[in-house]
Symmetry: D2
Subunit: 137 residues, 4 copies
């Protein structure tokens, strides 16, 4: 299992007239969580694209448990529970507010796609090797 | 069952550098689907808020089956499968491209909330009455 | 002079907690105005990119005169005042609410860029020819 | 004169199919610049709203000098050149990329509005007092 946390400050633009973060904007927060999680592993999603692999999202699930408000500093916890063995990877996300209360819980499934062929591929070897350390018995 | 369809033209702003619609933007397309579905019933979400009821999203699920591209005229199909009997309502969405191929499939669960008390409430009576016609045996 | 009008319905996502359209979202409304203005000329921005020309924005000016609210059907008026003779083009925009009151007034300057060379280029000939009719003496 | 700098990491959601940050998204970056500038003065925009004063934008100007790309860590420089004496305030923004090249230059004018009356008001006294130190002769 690999766990990572990062923070995001809620922008005015991200609120709606219900005075809370618009439900679609959590996809961006989850993106920040994934990207910083990968960076923390000494890799970067940008580098992955430069190496010819991109990761489109194939499935998204979000449960909205509490609202998030303007200017709150949210903590995005990102977890990889299983080492990807095929062409997909699942990130589990939890967003917490400053009072440590859980705001949303989500799950994002992505595919590894070879940019040149537009076909499914596997996680780049160097990322897999780093990640393996967290899943060894 | 109540079914409704509306269209949305993909904006440049909604694409990302993968040359497809960013995965988080479908939440907005689903919102357009819901809002036009309610308007089609002779009601409006705006009116509902003015009457003191708002509908925060409590659950979102999206499957991404094909990418959507810039300037495509997407069709958003919105279905209410069951007449809400409690404080929640589920909208089922399917997005199709101009070639009638399915792009995404989604499910959005919302609560009816009384703005004054911030407590769960029921679907406004006039909306329920209109909707009932589509669910009678 | 070439004038064109189109409409945009304000999405919930586009409002903020001030209960009005977030100031940055008008850039999207102006984009819709430009794109539909070009389509109305029998051309399309998408086609232009496929022909190898893209149009990045180099300057944006917006005056916010009145707020726009959720679910309002806004009219976006787009005007090309001068036939572009060099590599830039200016679109003038005015956004009106349902009461015909002006909401914002804006000006967007874009460059014609050759995608292959990434250098400035000119307006595609077929678009220019169509547009010329509106500027002849 | 009061100067402040903060950083923003470009999100995938903020890019478009031109592989650069969408022109409308700089409004959000400028918002982050303003908000962190005010926080740096020991105040916060959130607090200001809680005190009954909000700041809608009345004018926006942006020059796009270079594109910003995905995952770049942008520096947003925010400058208040003059102490507001009436109901308006102007923030000047410059956005720089990691190579210290300027990306955009902008100017945002906002009004101080009393939430209760919806009329123009003045900058809250405590913010003015803090700010005055930077403008004394």
């Amino acid at each position: 299992m690999y766990e990572h946390s990062t923070t995001v400050r809620v922008r005015y633009a991200e609120t709606d007239q219900m005075d809370i973060v618009y439900y679609g904007n959590y996809a961006q927060y989850f993106e920040v969580g994934r990207v910083e999680c990968i960076r923390d592993l000494g890799f970067s999603y940008k580098k992955m694209e430069e190496m010819g692999v991109r990761m489109p999202v194939v499935k998204l699930e979000i449960e909205y448990l509490r609202p998030a408000h303007y200017d709150e500093l949210l903590t995005i916890k990102t977890v990889i529970k299983e080492l990807p063995i095929k062409h997909e990877i699942i990130f589990y996300h939890e967003v917490y507010n400053e009072k440590k209360k859980i705001i949303t819980r989500g799950k994002v499934e992505l595919f590894f796609i070879d940019i040149a062929t537009n076909k499914r591929t596997y996680m780049p070897e160097n990322l897999r090797k780093t990640l393996e350390h967290f899943f060894e018995v």
